[in-house]
């Protein structure tokens, strides 16, 4: 993202902090690292967004929510939102705040490291136990897996690690 921001760009970024993942209301699209670029020319705002998963049905909803939120800023005349594929979104783009937000929702944040055989480990977001099992690498949405904590006996979800090394 650009390092030198004018005041409207700053305002836009602040507003985007309030645009949440439609299915996880404790994380914003900024927290998820989906916002690649915000540029302002006069009253026209161009926003470039990285899709998480290509088939994610929430993408159109997110686009509309961004438009609505940014249009509410007084100086803004027009908002253009574009999905771009380069660079690819990866789960290490999720910020520390985003990782906390996921946990607050009962979703374990994606592991930062994978073992050499491609396996990975997360801790229970509820009790912090490492005594968990993978129930299903696929979950209710494209980006999540289903796990079970053998310590506190709760099922939970985890964000899948997504990396270009895969």
């Amino acid at each position: 993202m650009q390092m030198v921001l004018n005041s409207l760009e700053k305002t836009v970024l602040e507003v985007l902090e309030e645009v949440h993942d439609p299915e996880i209301n404790t994380v914003s699209i900024i927290d998820l690292g989906m916002v690649e670029e915000v540029s302002v020319h006069g009253g026209v705002v161009d926003i470039k967004i990285l899709p998480t998963f290509l088939g994610c049905p929430a993408l159109e909803l997110i686009k509309e929510n961004i438009k609505k939120a940014v249009q509410s800023i007084e100086e803004v005349q027009e908002v253009k939102v574009e999905f771009i594929n380069h660079p690819p979104w990866t789960s290490d783009r999720i910020s520390e705040k985003g990782r906390k937000g996921l946990k607050a929702f009962g979703i374990a944040p994606p592991p930062r490291l994978m073992d050499s055989d491609g396996s990975w480990h997360v801790d229970c977001p509820f009790c912090g136990s490492t005594y968990v099992t993978m129930d299903n690498i696929f979950g209710p949405t494209a980006c999540r897996s289903i796990l079970y904590c053998k310590n506190c006996k709760n099922p939970f979800e985890a964000m899948k690690p997504i990396s270009t090394l895969m």
């Binding site: 998963f53 290509l54 088939g55």
Partner: protein, 270 residues
């Protein structure tokens, strides 16, 4: 590859468009056949997993149709839903039905066939995507990087089923062997690039089909050896080549079903 990047200039466009339709139609039909399994998979966790894979794959098809839209070929949704079978470039394998019957009535779908088809197709897709990461047409190379990441999980999933069922009971092994024979009969055009192949490869969009096919054989060799099976033969001259618009009647009925709702109101916002 060190080839130069190309643009969608008129002299390159036909080849780019041809390859994009092959990729788009393949993933579109593959995910349609996958979605017909919804609610019918062997257990609920598998239902979640395979429908998630179908959803991802539909997303991949949508990206290729989107690239075609950007090249002026028409609206992406219309390209997916409204083109008749004789305009489609998908391979034969993905248009085959899941088995006898219909999910609306009494489906007698064959899980062994699903596992083998999905696994063999996904390995082939992974090999193509690896090659497309170096595609001379940048927008396609960028999509390939995204698709590749998601494929990691699909491959893991289908490989697990494939190896486990072939290491299971005698009945499972027999049914899997039957499915392998059935899938291989249709495998002849999976790597084919059709009559545009020379042009597609010449422009550096993807590597030669024989190179890709050999990679598939090399990779599968290891898997087959691990379960003490020999790798089946791939027909060298396919009965039908989907890349050249040759299809079975199953494709007509698939298109009629999948586009039914879209055709009710083509102006509806989704």
């Amino acid at each position: 590859m060190t080839e130069q990047k190309i643009t969608a200039a008129p002299e390159n466009k036909d080849a780019i468009v041809s390859l994009l339709f092959q990729l788009a139609d393949d993933d579109f039909l593959y995910s349609f056949r996958g979605s017909e399994w919804l609610g019918l998979a062997p257990h609920i966790e598998e239902d979640v997993a395979s429908s998630s894979i179908s959803q991802d794959s539909m997303g991949h098809a949508a990206m290729y149709y989107q690239l075609l839209e950007e090249l002026g070929l028409g609206n992406a949704d219309a390209l997916a839903h409204l083109r008749p079978a004789n305009k489609r470039k998908n391979c034969t394998l993905v248009e085959r039905p899941n088995g006898e019957g219909c999910y609306m009535e009494v489906p007698k779908y064959d899980w062994a066939y699903a596992v083998v088809r999905n696994y063999f197709y996904t390995v082939a897709k992974k090999i193509k995507i690896e090659s497309l990461k170096n595609c001379s047409y940048d927008p396609l190379a960028q999509v390939a990087v995204k698709v590749n990441i998601e494929l990691y999980y699909h491959l893991l999933h289908w490989k697990t089923w494939f190896v486990q069922l072939l290491s299971s009971t005698e009945e499972a092994k027999q049914r899997m062997q039957g499915a392998i024979d059935q899938v291989m009969k249709d495998f002849g055009d999976v790597f084919s690039l059709g009559t545009d192949g020379e042009n597609i490869v010449g422009l550096g969009l993807i590597e030669d089909e024989n190179v890709l096919l050999q990679r598939w054989i090399d990779q599968m060799q290891t898997v087959f050896e691990s379960i003490n099976l020999s790798i089946p033969d791939i027909p060298s001259a396919p009965a039908l080549n989907g890349r050249n618009f040759e299809h079975t009647e199953d494709l007509d009925s698939a298109i009629a079903t999948l586009s039914e709702v879209y055709r009710l109101d083509t102006a509806a916002a989704w």
